[in-house]
């Protein structure tokens, strides 16, 4: 009898296999650092290193939530626009009420609501995730630009600004936050039942459902998390830039996807780690930083990111041979 399934992939071995993949990527990051040290004398300065770490953390916040979505073989293209809208709404609230706490709450809530809406489109309306979130991207983009009407919100309380610009023992605060969320993210993915269910869904959604995993609820969860993390990122943006305008963070969607893919998470679902995304964010930031240091025209950045995304996916496909 002919085998009717096309779902069987070459086995990606065990947990140690995943660790190996991340290890290779760490080596890659170190090699890039080495190369940049030779190519530019301003690379290995304290200011630059801290800058790289801070940039990477901004990218990581968005990419970490996105990792969970990609693990289920989905995609969230709306994250950048999510950051923009959340930042603008939160910025307005902080400005008008003077309360950073309220602002944080609004940012997280906005991100979460957007995430839930994405999740509902995917689970209840059965719209493929890349189309649903792509549509959401434009809806959010439009709403944000309309809401801001070309204006910029400027000037937040000093205490709030510490979140983005402050230092603790010489390291930027966002870096600590990044490490905290790296820990939380890894714990969630590898050491909770929900994380295991997410991996199961990515590996075979039909079998996962028939094994009693509540598919819709878990998918809603991952999209909500992705949205909330975008909301979180928007807070850091506000704190760092000390301003909010309609295009804050919008251009980060492609780099976030790149970070997730470079980190070894497969677009086809079921494979990948949050730690991998962390390394991916570092690698991408290092590359873009290097381009800056070497005075490459900033217009090349989307181009290079695009090429990196293509290469990362190709690598993923090439190492995942169908049986």
């Amino acid at each position: 009898m002919t085998d009717l399934t096309k779902q069987v992939f070459a086995p990606r071995a065990l947990i140690s296999g995943d660790l190996l993949q991340v290890f290779y990527r760490l080596i890659a990051a170190l090699l890039i650092c080495l190369a940049l040290t030779f190519l530019s004398e301003s690379f290995l300065t304290l200011a630059n290193v801290l800058n790289v770490l801070r940039q990477a953390s901004l990218l990581f916040f968005i990419a970490s939530g996105l990792t969970l979505v990609v693990l289920t073989a989905g995609l969230d293209l709306s994250v950048g626009a999510n950051v923009a809208l959340s930042a603008c709404l939160a910025g307005t609230v902080i400005h008008q009420t003077g309360s950073p706490v309220l602002g944080v709450f609004v940012a997280l809530a906005t991100g979460a609501v957007i995430g839930l809406l994405n999740g509902l489109m995917v689970t209840a309306l059965r719209i493929p995730s890349f189309i649903a979130t792509y549509g959401m991207l434009w809806v959010l983009h439009g709403l944000t630009y309309w809401y801001m009407a070309g204006e910029i919100i400027h000037g937040f309380p000093a205490g709030f600004r510490q979140i983005g610009s402050g230092y603790l023992f010489g390291l930027p605060i966002p870096v600590y936050l990044m490490l905290i969320f790296l820990g939380i993210g890894t714990m969630f993915a590898q050491r909770t039942t929900w994380g295991q269910e997410i991996y199961a869904i990515g590996a075979n959604p039909v079998a996962a459902r028939l094994s009693g995993i509540p598919l819709s609820r878990r998918l809603l969860l991952v999209y909500a998390v992705s949205g909330t993390m975008a909301g979180l990122a928007s807070i850091i943006f506000l704190a760092r830039l000390n301003s909010a305008e309609a295009d804050v963070g919008e251009s980060l969607t492609l780099p976030a996807i790149a970070a997730v893919l470079i980190g070894g998470t497969s677009l086809f679902g079921g494979v990948g780690t949050v730690f991998g995304t962390f390394v991916g964010a570092l690698i991408l930031t290092l590359v873009l930083n290097g381009m800056n240091l070497l005075s490459v025209n900033a217009s090349w950045q989307p181009l290079v990111t695009g090429v990196i995304v293509i290469l990362a996916v190709w690598l993923d496909k090439a190492t995942r041979r169908g049986e």
């Binding site: 002919t2 069987v8 590996a203 049986e323």
Partner: protein, 512 residues
């Protein structure tokens, strides 16, 4: 089956003319597997040559070699006595060989004519265009020649499975196929459609077409075949005449030992409490007013022809498909939700397609074994890999799953062991009622016995089983009683004493 017409013809073994197509000592190996080992085989025009063999015997490899998808490692091909090569699908086509696979090669939103002539469209006046009128006319002619009365401009997506198969055959005929290879063509057909197919085969035979027919259904093999070749482990075990053999002997050739079809079974003398009660269940998937009962300690069979709704019933019970009416009572409590509720309550579903619905092939044995039991094993939500290792080692031992370790990817296990993993994951979840949908499909005979022994043990320990199987013999040997379905409804229930293959077939077939 009483409706099948015998299409017996005199033996060709002594015919003076060379075979239309002959394979001599064809071998093909894949890494680690000898798929075909010096297989010799020949067909004459106008004969139906049955090809029998277990899964892994080499039938599908042989088919793929015949149609040029695979290249043989060694051996020779002869066409009408002359040596030829089959290295590509073009070679196969030139020799007039056409294979009808189970996955049809049709394009859903093109019409019949376009599908028949895909790649060979008649040219229009402007280069690159198609003469659509000629296309339709040519298609009409082909359809008429095989007795298929349908408008060639109908979109293929609107056709049923049987009709699509006819289109596939029309396609082969239009390519002047003189050797037709068919892989379980009646698997998804109703009785009437099977009759029509046999009519067509008779026509093709009269036309001199040779048909290589792969089937698992003994009734067909004996009714339709002119000669029977049995493959086992890539080797040809023998070639016989239907009149000179029996089903048992064929099975022996396929399996290599006298198969005792009676699996060890301890029938429930006093069945326990009612575990599952289904009342008036209907669903948009095509079932209506289903009533059945399963008690602890029983194996209840669910039989009927393909398409009678058996899978739909179990999916509705499990919650995989929504129901439109009726009640499902499990363990005394009503059930109305989806698979997550079913799993929580203690229902288990072992689906028909292991790899696409029962397992995550890329994940490890351990991961697959605990996937249903995550919340039971880790109620706090915190996941411990070490506990997984312990639980899976236990299950591997208990079920005798042949795997080097729990960290092996499930895809690498054999069919029988994969099925054990599927059963094992529900054991880990503490299921009390196991629903099996064709549990031994695609599993070799040795492993089959193990699976049934396992089910027997489960049920002896107080669980219950509801089992779908298309092998009436299995049902009769293993089940305490059985329900027979017909066209989406329960046609009747057979008790242990009434449970015979004849009764199953009688109830399952259309009256008059």
């Amino acid at each position: 089956m009483s409706t099948v017409i015998s299409l017996h013809e005199p033996s060709r073994l002594n015919a003076p003319a060379p075979p239309l197509l002959e394979l001599r000592k064809i071998s093909k190996a894949f890494p680690g597997v000898r798929a075909l080992d010096e297989v010799s085989f020949g067909v004459w025009p106008g004969e139906v040559h049955m090809l029998l063999g277990e899964n892994g015997a080499g039938k599908s490899t042989l088919m793929k070699i015949l149609c040029g998808a695979y290249r043989a490692d060694a051996g020779e091909f002869f066409h009408g006595g002359e040596k030829v090569t089959i290295n590509s699908s073009l070679d196969a086509k030139r020799l007039g060989i056409a294979v009808i696979f189970q996955e049809f090669s049709l394009v859903p939103y093109l019409n019949i004519a376009q599908n028949i002539f895909l790649g060979r469209e008649p040219k229009g006046r402007i280069p690159g265009t198609i003469d659509r009128r000629k296309l339709n006319r040519d298609a009409q002619r082909v359809l008429e020649s095989i007795g298929f009365d349908i408008d060639p401009t109908v979109t293929v997506a609107t056709l049923g499975v049987a009709q699509q198969q006819m289109v596939e055959i029309a396609k082969a005929v239009s390519q002047n196929a003189r050797v037709l290879v068919m892989d379980e063509p009646t698997a998804a057909l109703s009785d009437r459609e099977t009759e029509l197919l046999f009519d067509l085969i008779r026509r093709l035979k009269a036309d001199g077409v040779a048909i290589i027919y792969i089937s698992h259904r003994m009734a067909e093999v004996f009714a339709l075949g002119d000669r029977i070749t049995v493959l086992r482990d890539g080797r040809r075990m023998g070639e016989v005449h239907p009149a000179e053999t029996t089903p048992d002997e064929l099975v022996r050739m396929m399996v290599g030992r006298n198969v005792d079809m009676s699996y060890p079974r301890h029938f429930a003398e006093n069945p326990g409490e009612v575990l599952l009660e289904v009342k008036g269940l209907s669903a948009p998937t095509g079932i209506s007013d289903i009533n059945l009962v399963v008690r602890a300690g029983e194996i209840v069979g669910l039989c009927g022809l393909v398409g009678s709704g058996r899978t739909e019933v179990v999916r509705a019970i499990f919650g995989a498909d929504p129901a439109s009416a009726g009640q499902i009572i499990f363990g005394g409590r009503g059930k109305s939700g989806g698979p997550d509720e079913a799993a929580r309550l203690g229902l288990a579903l072992i689906p028909e397609s292991r790899k696409s619905e029962g397992l995550a092939p890329a994940r490890t044995v351990g991961d697959n074994l605990v996937v249903c039991a995550l919340h039971k094993l880790f109620p706090s939500g915190l996941f411990e890999p070490r506990r997984v290792q312990r639980v899976s080692s236990d299950l591997i031992e208990k079920l005798r799953i042949a795997t080097p370790s729990a960290r092996q990817a499930v895809a690498l296990l054999s069919g029988g062991n994969q099925q054990k993993v599927v059963i094992g994951k529900w054991l880990a979840a503490g299921a009390r009622l196991f629903i099996f949908d064709e549990p031994t499909r695609g599993i070799d005979v040795g492993a089959k016995a193990e699976i049934f022994a396992l089910i027997d043990r489960l049920v002896a320990d107080g669980a219950a089983a509801l089992m779908i199987s298309s092998e009436q013999a299995e049902i009769c040997h293993v089940c305490d009683r059985a329900y027979v379905m017909r066209e989406g409804r329960i046609a009747g229930e057979l008790s242990r004493t009434e449970l015979t293959e004849e009764n199953i077939v009688r109830l399952g077939m259309h009256h008059g």
